[in-house]
């Protein structure tokens, strides 16, 4: 069965680009435009990887990761944060919240696929 990836970004163009890249590689992609929506979607389960932007309205990506990690269903699900922040501090904040890793934007489709392949 195709792996399901939950892509969370408040920018429609980024979501579409992630969607296009991942679907092209045979993944099933669920989309959410902020942390609140993602959390709601994620509760239904069936997500193999969470890919989230950091800066989003309503609930940011770091909080989303923290919230998800508290759910038994997401104890072991890999979560990657998409970020343009190259600062170590931001990455560590993500790690502390429970992120598996990060992808530094801008990224290109092959790079995204390679990174995703590292976790699922």
């Amino acid at each position: 069965m195709a792996k399901s990836i939950l892509a969370v970004d408040d920018s429609a163009s980024m979501r579409q680009m992630v969607l296009l890249t991942l679907q092209g590689a045979g993944y099933t992609v669920l989309q959410a435009c902020d942390g609140v929506e993602a959390l709601e979607l994620a509760r239904a389960g069936g997500v193999d990887l969470v890919l989230t932007d950091v800066h989003m309205p309503r609930m940011d990506g770091i909080t989303l990761v923290r919230e998800l990690r508290n759910l038994p269903l997401y104890k072991y699900v890999p979560m990657l944060i998409l970020t343009t922040e190259s600062s170590q501090e931001r990455k560590m904040e993500g790690k502390r919240a429970g992120a598996t890793g990060w992808i530094v934007k801008p990224f290109n489709p092959p790079q995204l696929l390679a990174t995703v392949a590292r976790v699922i």
């Binding site: 163009s13 680009m17 296009l20 072991y76 890999p78 600062s87 170590q88 598996t100």
Partner: protein, 683 residues
């Protein structure tokens, strides 16, 4: 490659959302003036951040680089490092304009205005305190990697016990390492507890790995990039001794080279390309499409579902009627009527957009104008989510701009004048929208000086707009400013513009089937009140009968309907009939004469007078009878025929017949100009 084509499609989405992001930034920046709370700066920052990320991803490096500076400034502001000053806001606003043009130019594949970008970049850097030279020469970021790759590496990896919790799977990392070179891993199992004490979620192992091959250190570091900083990781070139001291657990062992801030493009380096003026950037063609919230579509789908249920219920009656069925039939028909009405409303709602689309430009306009005029003005938007038809929305924008400019220019006083009048030095301009009945009301309110009634009266008399001895109420005096020919040279200024008077504003509003009036109190301010139909597709109409014809008059235009006794009707110059309504004489418009039809009666006393108003004038329209009031869908006569004087359009009544909608402003204009029907033709 299809991927490229699809990426181009997605890039279009990026352009669109960048424009929306810029609008959000702009309104956010304008609201910062008063209060600089963290959340509003955060919202502005987020918009800039998204634009930068998208621009970089889609390969628009110059947009990304420019936005980076903006983002950095905003980041420092939200972290409290940089104060939020008026100058910084002004620069950021200019940067928004610049980004908007950069995006438009990028989309149109036109050259960017390098001079402007360079100048703004310099401004931003100045606020950031970076000397421009420092950025022009990027700081050396050479990683402290050994110049020559080693023949191989020894990697000691001692992870934290909860390594697995975050899904940092060691086997995956080893798999990737194996892709780099020849791998030999030795696991240390000394920490493994007895099976009964083993927690499957804990990582008890540590590894000692030999990786052979000419592999850059960076590649290895990347693979361990994500592991917890608490893990002990040593990467040593083969042949070098492993440091005996384990790294302090608190600090990350790896030194990951931090990227330097993206270098800004050299300012003014390319003056030739800078020749492309910002205002020459072509705007992307306005698409005839509309973005509809999924919620609205879902509601329509639900209604269609209900309609189908009603339909199947009703079709059941075709089988024959049993006792009690007439009641059910009636119930079914009621349900059908309700479904139809709701469906109609929902479909109409698709075309409805919040008025914020028109309001959003005003904070910026007011900000810029008040600076220019040396006035202090605070703008308030009320009811921005009030929805109205897209076409009405588009057409009301310009009249609103005119009214707002007028308020700022003539209504609101300078800070000194305000203080002298005992008011706060900051004036308030309020744009408010709300629904009232089937209409939307838009008000432009200011707390300025109000209209100067004596001056208006004097001017109107000078210009012969009113008679010398005419007695007017305060309200009537105020509304004289909407009269054609009232705007004077005296009023022309840089701000209010030239040539376009308030009469044009009123004309535009009437063309939308709306009405406008102004109320003002000296020293306290003015309110311009615009009443508009929610949509141009539907009209609340009064059906009237003249002879055998049925016409529709917009309820918006109707003031009242009266029956007039014969002794209250006078004939002027032996021709025009007028009647007295309270203290006013109004002309009678005989529809039968106007439209050349055979009425029940030609006498004013035997019919009804529908008093209608447009352009500040009232007339009584003589009809034989008033029929029902109903909402009608407006059909154009032009699509298959041509515009007809005095007729605004047509509609289809319940019996399938076409009825014509009377163009009240045109009817009134024709009375004023003495225009008459061409001929009364034989019926």
């Amino acid at each position: 490659m299809t991927l490229d084509i699809e990426m181009a499609e997605i890039a279009k989405v990026f352009f669109q959302e960048s424009r929306e992001g810029l609008d959000a930034m702009e309104s956010g920046l304008l609201s910062l003036g008063a209060t600089a709370d963290a959340e509003s700066i955060n919202t502005i920052f987020r918009a800039a951040h998204s634009i930068k990320g998208g621009a970089a991803t889609f390969g628009f490096a110059e947009v990304a680089a420019f936005t980076h500076g903006v983002e950095t400034l905003l980041d420092e502001m939200r972290n409290g490092i940089r104060p939020v000053t008026a100058e910084a806001i002004q620069t950021l606003l200019q940067a928004c304009d610049c980004m908007r043009d950069m995006i438009a130019a990028t989309e149109a594949e036109q050259p960017l205005d390098q001079t402007r970008i360079g100048l703004l970049n310099a401004d931003i850097r100045q606020i950031l305190g970076d000397p421009p030279e420092a950025v022009q020469a990027p700081a050396p970021v050479a990683p402290a990697a050994p110049a020559a790759p080693a023949a191989g590496w020894r990697i000691v990896f001692d992870p934290v016990p909860d390594l697995l919790r975050l899904r940092n799977e060691p086997t995956r990392m080893f798999h990737e390492l194996a892709l780099l070179g020849s791998l030999a891993a030795c696991a240390d199992v000394s920490r493994l507890p007895p099976l009964e004490a083993l927690d499957p979620e804990v990582c008890y192992l540590k590894w000692d790995i030999n990786l052979l091959g000419q592999i850059p250190r960076k590649k290895i570091e990347e693979i361990f990039d994500w592991v917890d900083p608490g893990c002990r990781l040593e990467i040593v070139a083969l042949g070098e001794p492993v440091p005996a001291t384990p790294a302090a657990a608190a600090s990350p062992v790896l030194t990951i080279p931090t990227q330097s801030p993206a270098a800004a493009p050299a300012p003014a380096a390319d003056t030739l390309r800078g020749a492309a003026r910002a205002d020459a950037v072509p705007k992307p063609a306005e698409a005839g499409s509309i973005r509809v919230a999924t919620q609205k579509l879902d509601s329509i789908i639900n209604l269609v579902g209900e309609l189908l249920i009603t339909q199947s219920m009703l079709s059941g009656f075709a089988e024959g009627t049993g006792p009690g069925e007439p009641d059910l039939l009636r119930k079914g028909l009621q349900q059908l009527a309700r479904n139809t009405r709701e469906l109609q409303e929902s479909v109409m709602r698709i075309r409805m957009l919040p008025i914020s689309f028109a309001f959003n430009r005003f904070p910026r306009l007011v900000h810029d104008l008040s600076r220019k005029l040396g006035k202090k003005v605070e703008i308030k938007l009320v009811g921005e989510n009030t929805e109205l038809d897209k076409t009405v929305l588009e057409k009301i924008s310009d009249p609103l701009v005119h009214l707002v400019r007028n308020s700022l220019d003539h209504g609101l006083e300078s800070p000194e004048q305000r203080v002298a009048a005992g008011k706060s030095d900051t004036g308030t301009l309020e744009l408010a929208a709300f629904h009232e009945g089937g209409n939307i009301i838009i008000e432009v309110r200011d707390d300025g000086a109000g209209l100067n009634k004596p001056r208006i009266l004097r001017k109107a008399r000078e210009r012969g707009l009113i008679a010398e001895d005419q007695d007017l109420t305060d309200e009537q005096i105020d509304n004289l400013i909407f009269m054609p020919g009232f705007s004077t040279a005296e009023q022309v200024s840089d701000v209010s513009g030239r040539g376009v008077g308030m009469d044009v504003v009123r004309r535009n509003i009437h063309d939308l089937g709306g009405a406008v009036q102004i109320m003002s109190r000296e020293g306290q301010g003015s309110t311009v009140r615009i009443r508009l139909p929610l949509t141009l597709a539907i009209l609340d109409g009064q059906l009237v009968r003249v002879g055998r014809e049925i016409y529709i008059i917009s309820l918006l235009a109707i003031v009242e309907t009266i029956q007039v006794a014969a002794d209250r009707v006078n004939t002027l110059a032996g021709r025009t009939e007028v009647f007295r309504l309270r203290n006013e004489f109004l002309p009678v418009v005989k529809l039968y004469e106007h439209f050349g039809i055979e009425p029940d009666s030609t006498s004013v006393a035997e019919g009804l007078l529908v008093v209608v108003e447009a352009d500040g004038k009232r007339v009584g329209v003589l009809v034989d009878d008033l029929l029902s009031q109903q909402q009608v869908v407006i059909k154009s006569l032009e699509s298959n025929f041509k515009p007809v004087l005095g007729i605004a359009g047509a509609t289809i009544l319940g019996d399938g017949k076409v009825a014509l909608i009377i163009d009240v402003p045109d009817l009134i204009r024709s009375v004023a100009s003495g225009r008459r029907t061409n001929s009364v033709r034989a019926a």
